[in-house]
Amino acid sequence: MDQRGIYALEYILLIGMGILISTIFFYGVYDIKELNTCMAAARNGATEGALMDSYAIYPTEQYQYYTKRYPRLKSGSKVVILEIRYENQGFNAAYNKTKIQFEIVASAPSIKHADERNCLGDRINYYARKAICEAYNTQNLTNVYCNPAFSDRYFFTNLDVKWV
């Protein structure tokens, strides 16, 4: 700025370009940040689900169901989350959001039966979706199973847990 309070044209151009680049840059950053936040929440939720499986402490109804059908699950077992990967499946016009499908890879060497693993996997997936909904306060937009889970720009579904 000179003594008469006038900006140089170069300076105005530079600032204008800066604002333009910043806007584009921040849009991208915000987008990536939201996805990162969701996946961090999903990881957190999956860990909580895996811990419940490991310690064999379940919601009351499920405990009673396991008592009748899968008594093995009443004892603790080692359940470890190995990886959470996701795939962007593009914009979905029905939800007006981008669809992300994630898959959790876990290990439970002491649980051999496929049905029992399904029970453990369902809990891990449920808590992963629930954590996403809690991070964005979108529990009222989804069903009791938090499926799909919503954030501002994305919605999340999942594959069954892959056991290795």
Binding site: T37, N44, G45, L51, Y55, A56, I57, Y63, K74, E134
Partner: protein
């Protein structure tokens, strides 16, 4: 900010970055705090049932005359709970969750010598678990006692 009151573009840029990052950090932190509280409850509940099941096994395997005084915690991570001893397991219910730990099969009696199919242990209570012989069989008698 310089003496003319002009803020540098670096400062504006850094401020915007912070404004973008902080909400996501806060939301993740909230979720993690909730998770850690839930995990704390689960771990304490599991530890409690395992300890009681182990106590029962110890008294049972100790033979006639063996006894252990048990002190129940008043709460589990600020949550109320109910805990019941069954002939083969200890079952805990708290905050909409349920879990159990197994022990050797036992026959339970109260301090009046009556057979019990289950015996609730109240939070904050003191209990004497003792091994006695009734009809030539070792049984466990659980008796609520006053504070030691």
């Amino acid at each position: 900010m310089d003496i003319k009151g002009v803020v540098s573009i670096d400062f504006i840029f850094a401020s915007l970055m912070i404004l973008i990052i902080i909400p996501s950090v806060v939301s993740i932190a909230e979720v993690r705090m909730g998770t850690s509280e839930s995990v704390e409850q689960i771990v304490i509940a599991r530890t409690l049932t395992e300890n009681i099941a182990e106590t029962i096994d110890t008294v049972y395997s100790g033979g006639e005359g063996c006894y252990i005084i048990l002190q129940m915690p008043p709460k589990i991570a600020d949550n109320n709970y109910t805990l019941t001893v069954h002939p083969t397991e200890v079952v805990i219910v708290f905050n909409g969750k349920m879990g159990s730990s197994h022990h050797n099969q036992i026959r339970l009696y109260d301090n009046y010598g009556r057979y019990r199919s289950k015996f609730p242990l109240e939070p904050g209570g003191y209990y004497n678990i003792s091994n006695v012989k009734i009809d030539d069989a070792n049984v466990l008698i659980i008796k609520k006692i006053r504070k030691i």
